[in-house]
């Protein structure tokens, strides 16, 4: 049985820089077919809360998290997960 992550929605606190475009791009670069959607929820003086949705045929959560912390972001919560199981026998 193989389980793959198809979609995750993350609540992240990040500095203003890198901006939303660079931040999303860095996350998308961790996979080959990722579709990343970033929504800014709240803007403070030095930080902003964003919701990031990552979709792909097999989302590597560790890599996504590593890209987030690499850009200075901090993962607050995993708000939605979509996984799929598939039998190895085909």
């Amino acid at each position: 049985m193989m389980v793959t992550v198809k979609r995750v929605v993350l609540d992240i606190l990040k500095p203003h820089q890198p901006n939303a475009l660079e931040f999303s791009r860095a996350i998308a670069e961790t996979g080959v077919d990722y579709h990343v959607r970033l929504t800014v929820i709240e803007v403070d003086q030095n930080t902003e809360s964003v919701q990031v949705e990552v979709q792909g045929s097999a989302v590597d959560f560790e890599e996504v998290q590593s890209a987030i912390t690499g850009m200075g972001g901090s993962l607050h919560s995993i708000d939605l997960v979509e996984v799929q199981s598939r039998s190895d026998m085909g």
């Binding site: 606190l13 500095p15 820089q17 890198p18 660079e22 403070d44 003086q45 030095n46 930080t47 912390t69 690499g70 850009m71 200075g72 901090s74």
Partner: protein
């Protein structure tokens, strides 16, 4: 990401790209005027040994470069540490391993290199005609006057660069900086000539 892209990225996230420009122009201008002042002094003194002139000017150029590197590095390390501390406070997280941590380590070095290399490179360009003449290359004008010409051209180009940044007339901006150089040379002639 290439080294240049990485440098641009770090400057962008720390919003220091405008500081690089400012350091380049301010210290480049310093280098050009210092060399012009030295060479004008040599023209007044009329020495016949070009090697002495080259050594004196090279000494000043290296000192300007070192001064630019060390002063910018010390002040920028403090600035970047403070900025990172404030950001860590806001994020309630340690950012040492993030791009911001990298920026706090590398941006001071980048700014220091620009601050130091600008006067050094500009000074070396101004010294080029004197050095060429010293190794026997024929020049259409005497080497010290050729060096003054290069200095004026570089000062004008720095003005043009400033004009383009400010989105004002490049010619007007170039002439403004050129005037500063001409007034400097005139002052040296007036005060050092007696």
């Amino acid at each position: 990401m290439s080294l240049l892209q990485q440098a641009r990225f770090l400057l962008r996230i720390t919003r220091t790209h405008h500081i690089v420009r400012r350091y380049f122009v301010v210290n480049g201008f310093d280098g050009a005027l210092t060399m012009m002042g030295l060479i004008t002094g040599f023209i007044i003194s009329a020495p016949d040994n070009l090697t002495v002139i080259i050594n004196v000017c090279l000494g000043a150029a290296i000192a300007l470069g070192m001064s630019g590197i060390s002063s910018a590095y010390v002040s920028e390390v403090a600035e970047r540490k403070r900025a990172l501390g404030k950001l860590e406070e806001a994020m309630v997280a340690d950012l040492q391993e993030s791009a911001h941590g990298d920026a706090a380590r590398w941006v001071p070095l980048l700014l220091a290199l620009v601050n130091g290399s600008a006067p050094l490179v500009i000074s070396l360009l101004i010294l080029l005609p004197i050095w060429l003449s010293n190794i026997g290359t024929p020049l259409p004008v005497p080497p010290l006057y050729a060096a003054i010409g290069v200095a004026l051209l570089l000062v004008f180009l720095l003005g043009v660069f400033l004009g383009r940044i400010a989105d004002i007339s490049w010619l007007r901006s170039g002439i403004q900086t050129l005037l500063v150089a001409v007034v400097t040379a005139a002052l040296i002639y007036l005060l050092a000539g007696y």
